[in-house]
């Protein structure tokens, strides 16, 4: 919203204050000022002057040679404006002056000297009108400095609308002036208005509020005999500086009032609207608003009607048919208050957000409808003394907000602020903001003014804000808390996550990435990954992002697919959330999972698979001192390889999987690369208890190592071999380790069996007895043969 300081000065005396500093204070105490504009500063020596004569320029069809009486003397001026005429009063920038920073010098134009410039309103910066030079119709002596009669010079600041969301009272200059009054300590002047009680005997306006739920108050009055149609210059300048544009007197006045007191108003042409009903319609229909657009009205939209004909969308925009026209002399003035939520929803539905609807959304004070009408009349009478009020001020006030009274103790303020603010300061601040304060002992009884009582100030903590913001947060003495020391809890889940990341990044050189919680159906289909049914977003603006992901790997695969130029061998991982369907109570089964994908063009899929498996083993060994069980399972996603998909579990608890890719997915990503992936449920992992580190005192006596080379066959797993050896190894078998794996025509695996005793040196023959008498026969029994 744009705020004119000239306008503010109508209501509070700011003489002697540095205006820029005050605006800065406003930022710190009320709402953020985004921009400050200094208008008219660089316009000088522009005076009211009169064109004495107009001659055609001999060398140009467009130019004229003017003689101009600027009060002090007559100037020659070459002017290109189409609307010049003898006797016209103009804004004349004299030689040596400047117009909006543009220096006016003596110039030769097409062979003729010109000693000044007749300015258009656009050149002066006071409107967008550049169709011709400004014509001055007011009775002002020639030679008068234009800036002394018109408010060309002004400081205007822009407040971020968002920061006014909770302050309905700040949507007009009068409310902002109240803030400046509180900030400066200078009193806020009352709004000058007419007393409408003198019209009480006139016939009323027929106002019928059918929808009493959404229309809180409707005030109206009828006025005849409007003869003026153009607004005064200063009013037009203010409207323009505040982002509006002049249309005609009546429309301008409604806008002016909205900007001044914050009350949206609407002027109906009485030829079309003579009484009003406020209601909703059961059946949808089309309605043309005054911007010329056809709107779809549904059963939730509040309409203003006259004799059952819709004439305006309540609180949003008037209709085209009943709009004020240039020849309108008679009007019905609306000043109403509606339910903010209803207006906001309608405005969203219609895609039509207006200055009026924005204000109603904020739940403006219903008390000001009559004030706005009385102010409107005051301004209208000043401009056009001939107008006649032809009805009583009719007011249907169906919903009143409750009065809010708050009681608090000085100690509450002290505790909440942590600083000392005096009783006097509390009282003067609240009073200047319009609160009624009663102070007895240490207790304050405060009545919230109507313009703050629609939603904004409801509890005593709200009062703290009023006191402290005017006190100024930069004036606060700041102190540390005096809270006692307490131990800090650290969650298991968190430290697992930290460690896993460190291990994967620092030891295995993987890259951590972030992705989205939803499946990207486009990117998935590019690599033949099905989007599996899961919880869906209802209102995603991207049709490809609808289904939430149930697994980390597919998103990581899309990342790999998009990083083909990154390197020949790398890995990515992410710890993030997936949704594994719904829980019994219908809420999402949200799981935190670690996903890893390794890619290599340098090594075989098999060795990459084991590299990934070892990462998992190491992670679990380090975090829980436990062994991981891997076992082949059927693929459960279309992108998993049907043969090499293995389940990961610890202590019988399923944790995730490790797998290679289905050829149909692998081929889409990179024909030449091996890709393997794994996923671990970090939430489940967190539930696994950490085992104590298993320490074995090393034997002081030398041990005996025996190497066995075993021929491998396809249906033998290492685990079975190891199991048989351990079962038959006797008490002195300490460890079984793989020392060599040979993959060839006849594959073999070499194991080193270490035997030792904690209390004596073992004899070779007793160990040979175990190996040849038990272990080897045991293996052979299961069809496992030793290499000869």
């Amino acid at each position: 919203m744009l705020v004119s300081m000239n306008w503010i000065r109508d209501f509070v005396d700011l003489e002697g204050f540095d205006i820029d500093a005050l605006i800065h204070r406003f930022t710190l105490s009320t709402a953020e000022v985004e921009e400050v504009y200094h208008y008219g500063e660089n316009t000088n020596n522009v005076v009211v002057a009169q064109i004495i004569s107009v001659e055609n320029h001999p060398n140009s069809k467009k130019l004229h040679l003017l003689k101009i009486d600027a009060g002090d003397k007559t100037y020659d001026c070459v002017c290109g404006a189409p609307n010049v005429r003898e006797g016209m009063k103009v804004a004349f920038a004299k030689e040596g002056g400047s117009v909006n920073g543009f220096a006016i010098n003596k110039a030769s134009i097409a062979g003729y000297d010109s000693y000044g410039m007749c300015c258009s309103e656009a050149e002066l910066g006071i409107s967008a009108d550049n169709s011709g030079i400004m014509e001055i119709t007011d009775d002002i002596p020639l030679g008068t400095d234009l800036k002394s009669v018109y408010e060309i010079e002004d400081i205007v600041f822009e407040v971020d609308n968002k920061s006014l969301t909770n302050r309905p009272d700040l949507w007009g200059h009068y409310g902002i002036a109240r803030e400046f009054s509180a900030l400066t300590g200078n009193p806020l002047k009352p709004i000058e208005r007419v007393d409408t009680s003198v019209y009480n005997n006139l016939p009323p306006v027929n106002i019928d509020i059918e929808d009493t739920e959404h229309c809180y108050r409707y005030s109206g009055i009828k006025v005849d005999n409007v003869t003026k149609h153009v607004s005064p210059v200063n009013m037009r300048i203010r409207l323009f500086y505040c982002g509006s544009r002049a249309i005609n007197l009546l429309a301008d006045l409604t806008n002016y009032l909205m900007m001044e007191v914050g009350q949206p108003m609407h002027a109906f042409d009485r030829r079309k609207v003579d009484c009003v009903e406020i209601k909703r319609f059961d059946t949808p229909f089309k309605f043309k608003t005054l911007d010329g657009n056809e709107r779809d009205i549904d059963e939730n939209t509040l309409m203003i009607c006259s004799n059952n004909t819709p004439v305006a969308i309540g609180g949003i925009m008037g209709g085209l048919d009943s709009e004020i026209e240039d020849d309108t002399t008679s009007l019905l003035l609306e000043s109403a208050n509606f339910d903010g939520v209803c207006i906001r929803k309608s405005s969203q539905r219609l895609g039509l957000r207006t200055d009026a609807s924005m204000r109603y959304e904020k739940m403006i004070d219903p008390e000001i409808t009559v004030v706005a009408i009385e102010r409107f009349l005051k301004l209208l009478f000043d401009i056009d003394p001939n107008v006649q009020v032809v009805s009583s001020l009719s007011d249907s006030y169906v919903y009143k907000y409750g009065k809010i009274e708050l009681t608090f103790d000085k100690s509450y303020v002290d505790r909440y602020t942590g600083i000392e603010i005096s009783d006097e300061q509390i009282i003067s601040t609240l009073t200047s903001l319009g609160f009624n304060v009663k102070h007895e002992g240490s207790t304050f009884d405060v009545t919230v003014p109507s313009w703050r009582a629609t939603k904004d100030v409801t509890i005593k903590a709200d009062i703290i804000e009023e006191i402290t913001r005017i006190y100024g947060y930069d004036n606060f003495k700041i102190t540390t808390t005096l809270s006692p020391l307490r131990p800090v809890r650290k969650s298991v889940n968190k430290s697992d996550e930290y460690y896993a990341k460190d291990l994967l990044v620092e030891k295995f050189n993987l890259h951590e990435i972030h992705s989205y919680i939803w499946a990207d159906s486009k990117k998935f289909s590019d690599i033949n990954v099905d989007v599996e049914d899961n919880v869906k977003l209802l209102n995603s603006i991207n049709p490809d992002h609808v289904v939430l992901r149930n697994c980390m790997v597919p998103t990581l695969l899309t990342v790999v697919n998009e990083n083909k130029s990154f390197g020949t061998e790398y890995g990515v991982f992410e710890i993030a959330r997936v949704v594994d369907g719904l829980k019994q109570d219908g809420t999402c089964n949200e799981r935190k999972k670690l996903g890893i994908v390794l890619v290599s063009r340098n090594c075989s899929e098999k060795s990459l698979f084991f590299r990934l498996r070892d990462m998992i083993l190491l992670m679990v060994a380090n975090l829980r001192h436990k062994a991981v069980k891997f076992e082949h399972v059927d693929a459960c996603h279309n992108w998993q390889h049907p043969v090499n998909t293995a389940q990961i579990s610890i202590d019988g608890k399923k944790l995730g999987f490790i797998s290679t890719l289905h050829p149909l997915t692998a081929i889409k990503i990179d024909k030449k690369a091996a890709i393997v992936c794994a996923e671990i449920d970090m939430d489940s992992f967190a539930e696994i208890e950490k085992a104590e580190l298993d320490y074995v005192e090393p034997s002081k006596f030398p041990g005996i190592d025996i190497d066995l080379t075993i021929l491998r066959n396809s249906d033998m797993t290492y685990k079975t071999v190891e199991k048989i050896i351990v079962e038959n190894g006797g008490q002195y078998l300490n460890s079984v380790k793989v020392t060599d794996i040979y993959d060839g025509a006849i594959s073999s695996i070499t194991l080193r069996l270490s035997f030792s005793s904690p209390d004596r040196t073992l004899a070779m023959n007793e160990i040979q007895d175990v190996v040849f008498g038990k272990i080897i026969p045991g293996l052979e029994e299961s069809g496992i043969l030793l290499k000869k």
């Binding site: 710190l28 105490s29 709402a31 953020e32 968002k162 969301t165 906001r344 969203q348 959304e361 505790r415 909440y416 602020t417 942590g418 600083i419 509890i459 903590a461 709200d462 703290i464 804000e465 947060y473 930069d474 606060f476 700041i478 102190t479 540390t480 808390t481 809270s483 020391l485 800090v488 969650s491 968190k494 990341k501 990044v505 620092e506 050189n509 993987l510 890259h511 951590e512 990435i513 972030h514 989205y516 919680i517 869906k536 209802l538 209102n539 995603s540 603006i541 899309t558 998009e562 990083n563 990154f566 790398y570 992410e574 993030a576 959330r577 719904l582 219908g586 809420t587 999402c588 949200e590």
Partner: protein, 342 residues
């Protein structure tokens, strides 16, 4: 005999001239001092010398032996020195400017910034909490004093799910659960991923990280809040940071503030980054609204507290100079692999 001794001295001097490496010195030693060396041979001659001269000759031969030995030590030292110099001089000088070929992994920049900030808070006695990304209307809005139809809900374009839940729009969604879990007094931070249903561009993301913090105790005041924010942010930015508070509206705090810090680019003198104001809007904060405390099972008459939200994604952009917010979720390893270590 004397002639022989003089001869040996001459021979040795002559031979020593040609001894240029340790091998030839060794040869020299063997030739003169070895069992069959010239001096040993001389000793044999001593037997046949006249007995009255034996003593004198013996002394002379011994002297000769000592002289030769001393000379050999001298020679060895010189040659070792020369050889050492030759060894050093022949050593290859390595090109230390060769690029490293050690492979490294990388952390996501959000992880880096998050750990840094978490460490600061842990040091100040804050519990670090983890919280769901999928929440219900109550936790995201109602419990935070944002009733139905509240315009604040429009400000936060929410992703709704077909099971009635929603993706949390702010980390504040965890406030209620954490208050319920620990009660007062309480100091906790809860970093997390948040979601807003809006179009994305270089400055807007629908998926981003925030970190919320709350501190609740008896007599926590606005004065404490300002002190805390200044201390905390000075730690985060590793320098004395000036802060200023402006009124800001958030339904879950009262009073609510927008906190600005002195611009870290220009130091507060004004630059394009801070739109010449010298201040950067950094984080919303405020005194926790009594309704929020009540909803969390904490008596607002007994306890007060403050809450603040830090935009971790924004902080990472500021800290690392990331210009396009989409980089974070892009999975683009050319960008992300640069964040190599903690």
């Amino acid at each position: 005999m004397e002639k022989k001794i003089a001869q040996i001295i001459d021979n040795f001097a002559e031979a020593a001239k040609n001894a240029t490496d340790s091998a030839s010195v060794e040869k020299l030693r063997v030739a003169f001092l070895g069992k069959k060396g010239e001096i040993s041979e001389l000793m044999k001659d001593l037997k046949s010398a006249p007995s009255e001269q034996k003593k004198a000759f013996g002394q002379k031969i011994n002297q000769l032996k000592k002289d030769v030995e001393a000379r050999l030590v001298e020679l060895t030292a010189t040659i070792e020195q020369k050889e050492l110099e030759a060894l050093i001089n022949s050593t290859e000088s390595y090109d230390v400017t060769m690029p490293s070929r050690v492979e490294t992994g990388s952390y996501h920049p959000i992880t880096l910034i998050q750990r840094e900030v978490e460490d600061i808070f842990a040091a100040m006695g804050f519990t670090i909490e983890d919280y769901d990304e999928i929440v219900d209307d109550y936790h995201c809005f109602e419990a935070l004093n944002i009733p139905k139809h509240h315009p604040a809900r429009d400000m936060q374009d929410t992703y709704y799910l077909d099971n009635g839940q929603l993706l949390k729009t702010h980390t504040s969604a965890a406030q209620n659960a954490i208050m319920r879990k620990y009660g007062a007094p309480l100091r906790a931070i809860f970093p997390g991923r948040c979601f807003r249903n809006e179009a994305i561009d270089a400055c807007h993301e629908n998926t981003f990280f925030q970190m919320e913090g709350i501190m609740i105790d008896k007599d926590i005041s606005i004065s404490n809040l300002i002190y805390f924010m200044k201390t905390m942010l000075s730690e985060v930015f590793q320098r004395d940071v000036q802060v200023r508070l402006r009124p800001g509206f958030f339904p879950f705090v009262e009073p609510g503030f927008e906190l600005d810090i002195s611009c870290q680019v220009c130091g507060g003198t004004g630059c394009p980054s801070c739109k010449n104001s010298g201040w950067l809007e950094l984080c919303p904060c405020g005194m926790i609204h009594p309704n929020v405390l009540t909803a969390g099972g904490i008596d607002p008459e007994e306890y007060t507290g403050f809450a603040f939200g830090l935009g971790l994604t924004r902080l990472a952009m500021m800290k690392y100079g990331v210009k396009d917010i989409r980089t974070f979720n892009s999975g683009n390893l050319k960008a992300l692999s640069q964040f190599e270590s903690l």
